[in-house]
């Protein structure tokens, strides 16, 4: 019988695996430690990740490196405006079976462990929505038949923020299904020097498998059994609630706040981060560290706020500054010491 909470040995083992993965991925992608940590956190928390950044920053390399390190099957789909839903989910093909002609389902590229959806915002909304069911329920329904996707299943999507012509912004419902939306920043000069020294154009870096599929599944299971103290859950709830208009001063200019799925995502990501750091419990610090990638894409600003130059990220930071870790008022006779 499995204990309700992760044991020290399980945490220790998982922590070692994470460290090995981190080292490997850092050899694939230079100077993006924070990004690698968040991507690892996302996959350990069984979440989908949306990467946004300029071309050539290594987004695809990171995903390919991750799939190799985790020993997972990977498919890459280049999203284009003429891509059809069936091109992703698969199509029924008329075949002759035992002398009869019948439709046989030909699985699409979505039937994989790790789906790299490159430039996802180039596909039509119809095609984007084909991913909805797959991302949330990890299954695909074609012609009334439901097909379960392999376990584990992740979507790591990328989108280019500068080319807006011929793109279709992701619908809110789909954006909400991504655990993180991560911004891939450009490299510093030192990092570029390392890249130039250690890489050659057109030659992919060698990545060895660090983990079996079972070990990775075990790691994900351990992350789910990380202890989430009641006070941390309460803090997550208050932070997410504060994203809604009228619920906090920082939320002025917000049109729609984060959904309950955001609270669940934040809790799952906090647990994964605690496991990555070898701790038996999620903490306030985990919530604060992950609030931005989890909530940033889930907060919609109104026109006025956008005109005033406000951003979702700024609002999340303001909310973190406004919402105390404990819902306790401060007596007027005491003041909080500045640290």
């Amino acid at each position: 019988m499995t204990d309700a909470y992760a044991s020290d040995s399980e945490i220790q083992t998982a922590s070692q695996h994470v460290e090995a993965l981190r080292r490997t991925l850092n050899e694939v992608l230079f100077g993006q430690e924070e990004l690698i940590n968040l991507v690892l956190c996302g996959v350990i928390a069984r979440g989908h990740v949306l990467l946004e950044g300029l071309p050539g920053l290594g987004k695809t390399e990171l995903v390919k490196g991750l799939s190799k390190a985790l020993n997972l099957t990977t498919r890459r789909v280049q999203f284009t405006p003429d891509l059809l839903p069936g091109d992703i989910t698969g199509n029924p093909v008329l075949q002759e079976v035992d002398g009869k002609r019948e439709f046989v389902f030909q699985p699409g590229p979505i039937f994989t462990n790790l789906l790299l959806a490159d430039e996802i915002n180039r596909a039509s909304p119809k095609t984007q929505s084909a991913l909805l069911e797959a991302m949330q329920e990890r299954r695909v329904t074609v012609l009334g038949q439901t097909h379960t996707l392999p376990e584990p299943f992740f979507v790591l999507a990328t989108q280019n923020p500068i080319e807006l012509e011929g793109t279709y912004p992701l619908p809110e419902a789909q954006v909400d299904r991504f655990l993180f939306k991560l911004e891939v920043l450009r490299n510093s000069a030192e990092t570029l020097a390392r890249i130039v020294t250690h890489r050659e154009l057109g030659v992919e870096p060698q990545v060895s498998s660090m983990l079996t599929r079972e070990a990775f599944a075990q790691m994900q299971a351990t992350a789910r059994r990380i202890y989430l103290p009641e006070i941390v859950a309460d803090y997550i709830a208050r932070v997410v609630d504060a994203t809604h208009p009228g619920q906090s001063a920082a939320a002025a200019g917000v049109r729609f706040g984060a959904s309950p799925r955001a609270a669940l995502s934040l809790a799952a990501a906090s647990k994964a981060r605690a496991l990555m750091q070898g701790r038996p419990n999620a903490s306030f610090e985990d919530v604060q560290a992950l609030a931005l990638p989890v909530l940033n894409h889930r907060i919609l600003l109104d026109y006025t706020a956008r005109m005033d130059g406000k951003t979702s990220a700024g609002i999340v930071r303001a909310i973190l500054a406004e919402v105390p870790v404990q819902n306790l008022a401060t007596p007027g006779t005491l003041k909080e010491a500045a640290r």
Binding site: Y5, Y227, P229, I231, V232, A274, R279, P280, N281, A282, S283, F284, E285, D286, D302, Y303, T304, M307, V325, Q326, L328, A329, P331, G332, T333, L334, K335, E336, A337, R339
Partner: protein
Amino acid sequence: MNADMTNQVQLSTAWMQQARRTRRKVNAGWWLARAMPLLVIAGLAGFAVIFVLRSRGVDLPWQRVWPWAAGGGAILMVAGWLMARRQFISTAQALVRLESELRLHNALTVAAAGRGAWPALIEKADDGWRWRWQTVGGPFAAYAASLALALWLPVAQEADAKAPVVEPQAWGQMESWMEKLQEEQIVTEEEKEEQLAKISDLRDQPPEKWFSHESLNAGDTLKEQLQRDIQKLAQDLSTAERSLNALQNYADQLSVAAKEQLLKDFDQALADMKANALEIDPKLMEALAGIDPKDLKGLSKEQMDQLRESMKKKAGECNGLCENPGFLGDGEGEDDKLAEMLGKMEGEGEGPGNGGITRGPGTAPLTLSKEENDFGTNKTEAVSNTDLSRARVGDLMAIQDGKHEVDKTSAGPQAAGAVQNTGEGGQQVWRESLTPEEKAVLKRVFR
């Protein structure tokens, strides 16, 4: 294993102690925060109470005040504690406070819940709270200073509310008359008491009604009645004395008819004295009743003289009481003195008094001046109403001389609908800058 457990127990004890310290500090902060306003209000109220009491003459030395002040302060602190209880934090909440301040990743809460090990102790673990000493000390100082100030400030004592109120003069006048009559053995003690009781009835009214019309009227009526009775008594005593005097000393020279008249007057005077509303002293009445005017030889000449002198004196007393019972009121003729004084003033009326303690007597300037005073009433003065808010319809506001202001700048006929800037067909007009109002409309539309 055992050493590890012992270490965990020690760490648990140490962290819990630290949490309890934090809890006590925060709860004390809440306690003070709730008690402070009460202290300030109580300080102001105490200041007012002490000040009022002192102004009314109550002696309040600080030795008498400070136990009350301390007691009141203690009660307020208890009230503050009761009010603050709802905000008090628990030890578990104090642990959360500590771990969040020390960035321990909720290790203390997890350890307290038995889900993890207690972290190592941190030297000088700080819970992040600092006292606001000005906030804490200010109300205490204000409370103490208010009370001290109320004790220290010099105050002018109000007039004693119990001081005797001036009463209508007629009452005291009548009392003095009765005292005098009783002292001279003209009226009985009972009669005096009866009259004083009537005065006392008037005095028993509320002081604010003593000078009401009804009260003054009743007092004056009583006084006039008493005055008439005393005058009648004086008259009767004089009549009896004169009759006795004539019968005693001039009997030989009187005709029979004159004697008869005197005897009749004496008897009438006695009868009137008996019938007087004032009850005459029995001794006096017995002495008078014992005299037989037809045969005065029963009394020696000395006895008769003594009796007559007594009657004469009593009659004089009664007359003295009733003489000039004027507004100065003691019956000793102050009205005459006043009239005399006023007469002198009239003669000296050369101008108004010079003021000061030696002022007067003087007269009003219009009384005796030979020349008419000039008040300048025949001058014509301009009147202007600066407060137009009170002007009524029809009031003249102002008069101004001047010509009509006519715009003399010539202007010829102008074509209406002229457009200064005409755009050509197909041109697009751009607005690169928006006014705030336009921005607001856009925001509303696109919100």
